[in-house]
Amino acid sequence: MVPFAGFDMPVMYSGVKSEHLQVRGAVGLFDVSHMGEVRVTGPRAEDALMRLLSNAIKRIGDGQAQYNAMCNPAGGVVDDVFVYRLGREDFLICVNASNRDKDFAWMVENNPHPDGATFVDEGDDWAQVAIQGPNGVDVTAALTDIDVRSMRRHTLVSGTFAGVVGCIVARTGYTGEDGFEIFIPAAEAADTWPKIIAAGAEWGILPIGLGARDTLRLEAGNVLYGHEIDDEISPLQANLGWIIKLRKPGGFIGSDAIDARRATDSQRVVHLMVTGKRIPREGMNVVDANGAVVGRVTSGTKGPSADCGIAMALVDNELAQTGNTLIIDVRGRQAEARVIEGAFHKQPQDRS
């Protein structure tokens, strides 16, 4: 167990590799109760989020979820968040645990419509589990009357889960697999864990720790706050252009700076696969043939499915083309790495 954002978190239960492969091949269960939640309600809630967040919040309807960046005026990222629209004037925002206090303060301080949009920190009110993997839908279906099989990706339904009323079941996830994330009222959450384990026994469900959560997201190319994105890095540098709507009416906090920085930011995030057996780790330098530093590894590991070293790295733009070979300095030894298009692991198509 390790302390993380005020929670004691399991790095692993049975082993990072076995847990990882279980999620890719069948189904795994994650306790992600450390994630923060902010509730936004009121007649101007949507307008407030349009200004605070980067994506087209107005394009999602009730029961839909959307990935967003919350940016600062300099074009850096305060946090990356998932927005769940519960109703026309009711949104739940899932934020990174380590940013919970910062995010809530930011939202309240920068709320453009304090008279019509109310922000409440509900982080202590919700527990959260993730059931991820190709059999995640089977396990989830066994625990609720909600017709989860007909839910599309990035949708949510409120209802009873594992006997607990008032849960939110969302077809979302961070692992690169199909699956569900379920918000459970915290007071009743502890009893749901053994129920999920029992319901998933048929598919060999395993509890999955932070270690495999990281290798899974890294293979899937999902950015992690504090690594590929932070208060300084522009979301466009981290390939998040698909959630950055620079032309939306009125813009959003940071949109002008993000636009301007397109001409000046000299580095961007690439996905790398290592040739050979060495393992890239966060903080290692990316160097050119003469040993000059041209970037740094932002996340690195041995991908259990990739079966080789994989990484994301922030490198000079001119070296970021797919197919380029870069060199990572692994404690004084060289590891050759190839820039790959997208991530190592592609999200399977929805089965619904």
């Binding site: 590799k17 060495r278 404690r331």
Partner: protein, 126 residues
């Protein structure tokens, strides 16, 4: 935790098996347990020479990188290639999964190594 009687142990948690002037070196059950799941071993090359206490290879787990030191001076005469794709074998069978073999120099201070009993006592104290 097992510490076979026929092996000798270093203060850095390597095990050593001597056969004439060649020693076989691995890491102890205690070391593999402390490191956790191994994912990579950075081997020396056959023909490399080392002095006693030189860093000779690295073992990398999901949570840490540990250095393996030469128990005495010598020349690498073999490395365990089988571990290149199966570093985790060191976790499951630390005493079958040797890392490298060293032809030892004349002044090899093998007497400084610990017996299984002495090593077990050291581990128990740590």
């Amino acid at each position: 935790m097992k510490f076979p009687e026929n092996l000798l142990y270093t203060s850095h948690d390597e095990w050593v098996l001597r056969d004439g002037d060649v020693i076989t070196v691995g890491i102890s059950d205690f070391a593999q347990d402390a490191l956790g799941e191994l994912v990579h071993i950075e081997m020396p090359e056959v023909g490399d020479t080392f002095d006693a206490e030189d860093m000779i290879c690295e073992v990398e787990s999901v949570k840490a990188v540990a250095e393996v030191y030469a128990p005495c001076s010598g020349e690498v005469v073999a490395i365990n290639d089988a571990l290149e794709d199966a570093a985790e074998n060191v976790n499951t069978a630390p005493y079958d999964s040797w890392l490298f073999k060293l032809r030892i120099g004349d002044d090899a201070p093998l007497a400084a190594l610990m017996s299984a009993e002495a090593y077990a006592a050291k581990v128990a104290d740590s």
